[in-house]
Symmetry: none
């Protein structure tokens, strides 16, 4: 069954969507602000997300970016203002489609079907290219600019993968340790230092002056392009 997450602060809209979507055999979960919306995406792993841009706590594009950082779940944006700039910002941030309030339920359902259909066949894994190397997440390969493959151990690869999937964003030590080593290792920040150093030796042009694997003192690490 297709899971839909509705994030909107207007109770009447949420109720209308819940009724219509449930009647059409969608599994519906809801949130009423950006923060709990992001949490709901992580928790429920919906197949598609319907997001109101006018939330009380966060800017809509921030929510989109927060979701896009780690999943390609389709996002359909709702907004009352028919402003082209806002539309561009939302789409540039990674939204898949855009519906202006007030909307016809039939149109929304059609776009919902289209979004789910488009997303299902091949959710392309990203390929990240820098000046010095290319990371191919699907092939689990790192190719140095100029030919040679870089061979990474499983742990090195997992760590790099988490950082690359969140590229440009800070990833906390706790999050890295949890995703690579598991929840029991949240405090073993020593592991991070060892493995970040190994990755730097293999990837950075000047390992002692990192350009891609950046330290945020006291916080965590960041993959910067």
């Amino acid at each position: 069954m297709t899971r839909v997450l509705v994030v909107d602060d207007e109770p009447s809209i949420v109720r209308a969507l819940r009724i219509n979507l449930t009647a059409r055999k969608y599994e519906v979960s809801t949130a009423t602000d950006g923060a709990s919306g992001l949490a709901a995406v992580a928790r429920d792993r919906p197949d598609v997300m319907i997001l109101d841009l006018g939330l009380p706590d966060m800017d809509g594009t921030e929510v989109i970016r927060g979701v896009r950082g780690w999943t390609s779940t389709p996002i359909i944006v709702l907004s009352v203002w028919d402003q082209e700039s806002q539309k561009v910002a939302a789409l540039d941030a990674g939204a898949d489609d855009y519906v202006t309030k007030p909307f016809g339920m039939d149109e929304l359902l059609a776009r919902l079907r289209a979004a789910v259909r488009r997303a299902s066949p091949a959710p392309d894994e990203p390929v990240v290219t820098t000046d010095h190397f290319t990371v191919d997440l699907a092939a689990k390969r790192v190719i140095r600019e100029g030919g040679g493959d870089v061979s990474l151990t499983p742990t090195e690869w997992q760590l790099l993968e988490v950082l690359v999937r969140n590229r440009g964003r800070l990833v906390t030590q706790r999050q890295l340790l949890q995703e690579v080593w598991g929840p029991a290792y949240e405090t073993e920040s020593n592991y991070l230092r060892v493995y970040v150093a190994q990755l730097r030796r293999k990837l950075e042009p000047e390992p002692s002056r990192p350009r891609y694997l950046l330290t945020e003192p006291g916080m965590g690490y960041r993959f910067g392009d």
Copy 2:
């Protein structure tokens, strides 16, 4: 590698497309007006064409007709005007798909993939050739360079087939075991070692120093060209 021709007179659009497409392993060529666009189709023989309707020198539908005169290369049309009539005209002239600016890159990429997929009835190249042997997936045969068939047992063949179909990509042990032996054998990584060794004896010029059947310690195997 899939070749994409971008015809658009807006430098920012061309740049954005070039960056995104190149990062996803497309080969990109560009043109900034209709006449040079038509010339580029003839010269580069792209696998798919992205065409802006608002070109300075020609009407978009004319460009489409010019291309359709001699090839069925898929055409994805871009336009800033969301007018139903123009959309119909472009599609009637022979365009395959239609995207309204501003567009989401994910959507465009999805439509691009769909267009390429529709255009190529034989999705997989059934023959893979290396310097030392040729694998014919359709005929289920391996021919050594210089004549002579290599005879493989059924299990050896299945294993080779999975690796070759994913050539260049890492295939995890679990995936290999699941596809060759079935879901119940996910942990029998011993089987893999035995059969990879047999394949290496039969295919590799130096079985002890593999060139094609590569081990990724802790993760799986990879067929490298």
